[in-house]
């Protein structure tokens, strides 16, 4: 029980200190999990991160589940993950309530008008980073382009694109050319 509580609290701390998730979390995990608690080595942490990136779900959540599971089995995985999301639940719930209460004020609406433009830029920058890594050859570029056009102009669910593109990846890599 003590270890479970410890996992919860440690990952709650990681959650509070993480802004943005993903790789922003790595130095914090190194300090808290590897150096302080010694629940994993640097190499294990890198492995978890790599797998976290290529399994579905939020990378931060995947990594927390991994380390919790390794330390204290299935319950450990659950406690570590719940700890990670706990600060988000509290902070966002408080903020959402405040924002909703003030949202009828005109200058607040204007401020959010400006913020939404900034969000466009943030998405653009996230896209630019991912694009270089994911559309690396002609096949992946075609998949990318087809998804952009279909997703923008039709109501097809994103789930369909994800499933079909995964199947396409397997078919092209294993049947088409053996050069990979």
């Amino acid at each position: 029980m003590k270890t479970l509580l410890n996992l919860f609290i440690t990952f709650a701390k990681v959650g509070v200190m993480t802004f943005g998730g993903g790789y922003a979390m790595l130095p914090i995990l190194q300090r808290e999990i590897v150096e302080k608690k010694k629940w994993a080595t640097d190499e294990e942490l890198m492995d978890y991160f790599a797998i976290g990136q290529c399994t579905p779900g939020i990378i931060a959540v995947n990594t927390a589940t991994f380390i919790g599971q390794k330390t204290k089995g299935i319950l450990g995985g659950i406690f570590a993950t719940l700890g990670l999301v706990f600060p988000s639940l509290i902070i966002i719930s408080l903020l959402a309530g405040v924002i909703e209460a003030f949202s009828h004020i005109v200058w607040v609406q204007h401020a959010f008008g400006g913020i939404r433009i900034c969000v466009c830029v943030l998405i653009l920058n996230a896209f630019l980073k991912l694009f270089k890594k994911s559309a690396s050859d002609i096949v992946t570029f075609i998949i990318f382009l087809a998804v952009v056009i279909l997703a923008f102009f039709t109501d097809i669910s994103p789930v369909i694109f994800v499933v079909i593109s995964a199947i396409l990846g397997i078919v092209i890599k294993n049947i088409g050319g053996k050069k990979a």
């Binding site: 959650g15 509070v16 802004f19 943005g20 998730g21 993903g22 797998i51 290529c54 399994t55 579905p56 779900g57 939020i58 990378i59 931060a60 995947n62 991994f66 390794k70 299935i74 993950t81 990670l84 988000s88 966002i92 719930s93 959402a96 309530g97 924002i99 204007h110 401020a111 959010f112 008008g113 400006g114 913020i115 433009i117 969000v119 466009c120 830029v121 943030l122 998405i123 896209f127 630019l128 991912l130 890594k133 994911s134 992946t140 998949i143 998804v147 997703a151 923008f152 109501d155 669910s157 994103p158 994800v162 995964a166 199947i167 990846g169 397997i170 092209i172 890599k173 294993n174 990979a180």
Partner: protein, 192 residues
């Protein structure tokens, strides 16, 4: 029962969003279109708040969507229930999958089918994010109708300035919260 549906929708998002927080955005736009629980403008505000607060973006987004949806249904109690339901829904598939993968750690990473699936998945995920970005941009630049008169000039200027600023090497370490704060100020001052 809206809370069961909320859980199921976020379970799907957690299962199919591959590659971090921003990958959840296309699913949330789809959810907004499908259910009308929240608007595209709500969603853009949620993205800004999620970027500016501690915690992984994907988790923050789920909590926020759950909170707003629950509140519109059942008030404060509904808001808290919605926030918890959506967040638990988002993390459930990841927890199950990782528990299974942890058992075959090494063979999973080196599996050629897993690797080739991701060869196709990654550009699709990037494409979904690009399409979501285009939808956000369209809604912001043409808030009323797709005409020249309805074009949001102030917004377009701010967009170009921010796009340039955030891509200057020296400023790349500056946290997004700074740009979000500046944009709020510019928006309030110039009535955007």
């Amino acid at each position: 029962m809206i809370f069961l549906q909320l859980f199921w929708e976020f379970f799907k998002t957690g299962l199919f969003a591959v590659g971090g927080g921003m990958a959840t955005i296309p699913f949330l736009y789809d959810l907004s279109d499908k259910t009308g629980w929240f608007t595209h403008a709500d969603l853009a505000n949620m993205i800004a708040v999620s970027e500016s607060t501690p915690g992984p973006i994907g988790v923050n987004m789920a909590t926020y969507v759950g909170y707003i949806t629950g509140m519109r249904e059942l008030g404060v109690f509904g808001a808290l229930l919605g926030a918890v339901t959506a967040t638990i829904g988002l993390i459930t598939p990841a927890v199950i999958i990782i528990m299974v993968v942890a058992a075959f750690l090494k063979s999973f990473r080196d599996n050629k089918y897993v690797n080739s699936a991701f060869y196709g998945l990654r550009p699709a995920s990037t494409g979904l994010i690009a399409a979501a970005g285009l939808s956000v941009a369209a809604a912001n630049f043409f808030p009323e109708a797709y005409t020249l008169a309805g074009f949001n000039w102030k917004g377009a200027i701010l967009f170009v300035v921010l796009a340039v600023l955030t891509n200057i090497k020296k400023l790349s370490k500056v946290h997004p919260i700074v740009f979000i704060g500046l944009s709020a100020l510019v928006g309030a001052v110039f009535s955007m």
